[in-house]
C-alpha cells in the first residue's frame, strides 16, 4: 500500500521503543475520539531530561508509526523542549501523512503532553508531601 510514505512504513514495520516502563515518571493515556484508537506512553525523567520513553498503541498504521516517531524524538530532550513537539512536527518527521490520517498524529503528541503533565503532577505532589512533612515537624 503506497498510501503511506516510506518513513511511515519503516516505523510501522519496525516500531521503536515498544513496551512499558515499570517505574515510569510519567504515563499518558489518550483515546482518539475520532476513530477510537488508544495509545499509552511512558516517560523516564532524570535531571529534567527525558532519558527513556516507551509506548503501546491500539491503532492504525499511522498511529503506530507516529507513536514510534514521537518516542524517538523526545529522548534526550528537556521537558521544555519535549513540550514543543506537536502533531505537526511528528507528521513532518515522518514525511507527511495522508490527510485523513492527520488526526492519528494527535494521538502521539497528546499522549506525550499527558505523560509530561502526569510527571509534573507527581513532582508537585511529592514536593507538597515533603512540605507538609516539614510543616508537621515544625509544629
Amino acid at each position: 500500500m503506497s498510501m503511506y510514505s516510506d518513513k511511515v512504513m519503516e516505523h510501522f514495520k519496525n516500531p521503536h521503543n515498544v513496551g512499558e516502563i515499570k517505574d515510569a515518571d510519567g504515563i499518558g493515556e489518550v483515546g482518539n475520539p475520532i476513530c477510537g484508537d488508544i495509545m499509552k506512553i511512558y516517560i523516564k525523567v532524570k535531571d529534567d531530561k527525558i532519558v527513556d520513553c516507551k509506548f503501546k498503541t491500539f491503532g492504525c498504521g499511522a498511529a503506530i508509526a507516529t507513536s514510534s516517531m514521537v518516542t524517538e524524538m523526545v529522548k534526550g530532550k528537556t521537558i521544555e523542549e519535549a513540550l514543543e513537539i506537536s502533531n505537526k512536527t511528528v507528521a513532518e518527521a515522518l514525511g507527511g501523512l495522508p490527510p485523513i490520517k492527520m488526526h492519528c498524529s494527535n494521538l502521539a503528541a497528546d499522549g506525550l503532553s499527558k505523560a509530561i503533565e502526569d510527571y509534573k503532577k507527581k513532582i508537585q505532589d511529592s514536593k507538597l508531601k515533603t512540605e507538609i512533612k516539614n510543616q508537621c515537624k515544625k509544629m
Partner: protein
Amino acid sequence: MCGKGVNGFMKRIYMDHAATTPTDNEVVKAMEPYFTQKYGNPNSIHSFGQEARDAVEEARKKVAHLIGANPSEIIFTGGGTESDNFAIKGIAWANQKKGNHIITSKIEHHAVLHSCQFLEKHGFRVTYLPVDKYGLIDPDNVKKAITDQTILVTIMHANNEIGAIEPIKEIGKVVKEAGIYFHTDSVQTVGHIPIDVNDLGVDMLSMSGHKLYGPNGVGVLYLRKGTRIDSLIGGGSQEKNRRAGTENVAGIVGMGKAAELAEKRLVQGEEDKLIKLRDRLIKEITEKVDHVLLNGHPKKRLPGNVNLCFEFIEGESMLLNLDMEGVAASSGSACTSGSLEPSHVLLAIGLPPEIAHGSLRLTLGKDNTEEEVECVIDILPKIIEKLRALSPFKGSWEGLKK
C-alpha cells in the same frame, strides 16, 4: 516458501473478491471486438448498429438465464450502485400515491442506505430492520413492519461484509402476501450461489459485473414484468425507456459472458470448492489464535466469505502487515473506513466498536488455491502476535475507558 514466487518476486495472494474480482480472460476476449471492430451504436439501422444490437440481446439472454428470468426483464445499468438507486428511487417516485413507507435493514450496502436516506429527505418514511447476532433478518419482523403505507421492501440477498445469506424466499412470501414490491441487492450472490428470481419471489434484483469476473461499469436490474417504476436517468429510449444513454456495448457483452461462465462454474461445483477453503480458513485460524470470533453465520454464509474479529488489535495495521506479505484483504475497522466510523454492519450485529476495530475480511474467489489458504493460515497468527505485542490491551479490555 509462502508468499514468495520464483526469482524472489513476491507471489501475491488476492483474497478481496467481495471488493472486486479480476475480469476473466474469456470475458476480455469476448469484449474486445466491440471496441474497435463492432463499434456500432445498437440503435442505428445499419449493419454496424445491428451487430452491436445482436450482441446486446445475446448478453441479455445469458444474464436472464443465470437468474431464471425472461430476457425482457433484464435492464442494463452502469453498475450495482445504479441498480439499487434505480430500484428504490424508481419505485418510490412511481408509487408515492399508494404510500410513502419503505422497509429495509440496518446492514444494507450504502447504495441502498443512502438511497433510502435521500427519500427520507423527500417525505418518505423508512424502517431500518435490526438483525440478529449472525446478521440475519427475521421475516416476522418484516411482516410486523408492514403498514398500509408500505410500498417497497428492500433487503440484500447476502451481506458483503459478514457474508450472511438472508432468508429472501421467506421474506418474499411475506411481502407478496401484502402485495408490496420486493427488491433485493444481489450483488454478492449472483453467479456465486444458484439464484432463481421466481423461487426467491423478488420483483427486482440488482447485480454488478465486476463482482462476477465481468467488467466494471456495468450492472443489471432485473425488473419483473408489470412493475411500476420511474426511470432514474432520462434521455433516449434505450432499454425500453427504462435507462437512457447509449448502451455500453462492450461492457454488456462482458456481463453476458461473465454470466454464462458463472453458470458453468456453478454447475461444476464451484460453490463446494470455495466452502471447503472457507471452512478450512475459519477452522484453522480460530484454532491457532485466541480471542478471535467469527462474524456472520457459520453455515448461512457466502461460499467465499471469512470475517473474523481479533481482539486487542486494529484492522488497518493487520491489512498493512498482510499486504507486506503479499496478501490482499479488507477490514471493517474505523481506521480503514474513510469516514473513520466502524462498519455499520459490525455494529448492527452487536459488536462494541473496539472489537469491530479488529475485523478482518478474507473473500475467496475461483482462482484461490489450497496452498494460498495454507499460506494465510501460516502467516496470519504471526501477524496477530506481533500486533498484540504493541497493544496496550493484553488478554482483556481492562482499563478501557468508555
